[in-house]
Symmetry: C2
């Protein structure tokens, strides 16, 4: 994979879910960034849970092989309606983690609040404002963003990691 | 992989956990069975969660490659102290599921009650009784069973699937 500019990095952001896993691959340096690929991996409710998790694992693996992101950023949710739904959330997240980890990618987890803070400047920002800021960061209009919230959430997560990478690079230059 | 007798199957049972994942590979026909391999995959608390999950994924993958079980049986727990611990349980379980699923193995989940019922004949059987019955099914003494409960739990889960396979084979002959 060749990045268009020196100092750019490519990040895979994932918003995991058993029925719908959003993904967004972005590249940039934290100042400017662009979408490489984005979408939603959907699984059928009539398939077994094992089949659904395996499908998410394989689709994410194929995306990593194709686009060669340097790192995975994933949403770390701590809130769930109940123990059972918490387990399902954990299951989908672990699949994303091992799809990346088994290919040597470092993994970073971000809470939804951290993502909102990084992308929209405010941890309590409403969903629509986050979407608008994601579009601004990626240099596209709101209409050009993928319609599915899972996909734009994944882009926001990827942008959060990209902003951290920029900070880390700045700190390294100062050291 | 060659099984010692016709009609025998080889099953991988997993009792998943982030710190300790028990595994037990058994082969047999539901009447008699023997241990192929058993143990515990332990991960270090100071490693990141992604590293720990990836290690479990890779160790289970290596066991599957080496011993070629036909199927995975995994404990399906629905009970957790809180939402956060439920997510961790889900994460470890999903890793076992995709380690098997991505290699084409069918996955079966069993509740702890179903395992106790199958192995000890009673869903409320205490742990020590389950261990004794696991030893009986596998033709070993209690002392020969692995000391770690995670490992003997995994053997119990594998035996549960083996008993189901026997039932399925009997039903197929009658059909």
């Amino acid at each position: 994979m060749t990045l268009p500019r020196e100092g750019w990095a490519r990040v895979l952001g994932v918003d995991p879910g058993l029925a719908a896993t959003g993904y967004g691959i972005v590249e940039g340096d934290g100042t400017s960034a662009r979408i490489v690929a984005t979408g939603v991996i959907r699984t059928k409710a009539r398939a077994s849970k094992a089949e659904r998790l395996t499908r998410i694992f394989e689709e994410l693996g194929a995306l990593i092989e194709e686009h060669r992101p340097a790192t995975l950023a994933v949403e770390q949710q701590f809130v769930a309606e109940n123990v059972r739904s918490a387990m399902v959330i954990g299951e989908a997240r672990a699949v994303a983690i091992v799809a990346a980890g088994s290919r040597g990618l470092p993994v970073h987890e971000f809470t939804p609040t951290a993502v909102k803070e990084s992308v929209a400047g405010y941890g309590g920002a409403p969903k629509e404002q986050v979407r608008q800021m994601v579009a601004v960061h990626l240099g596209v209009t709101l209409e050009e963003l993928p319609g599915a919230l899972d996909a734009s959430d994944a882009l926001a997560i990827a942008l959060t990691r990209l902003a951290d990478l920029r900070l880390e690079a700045a700190l390294a230059r100062r050291a």
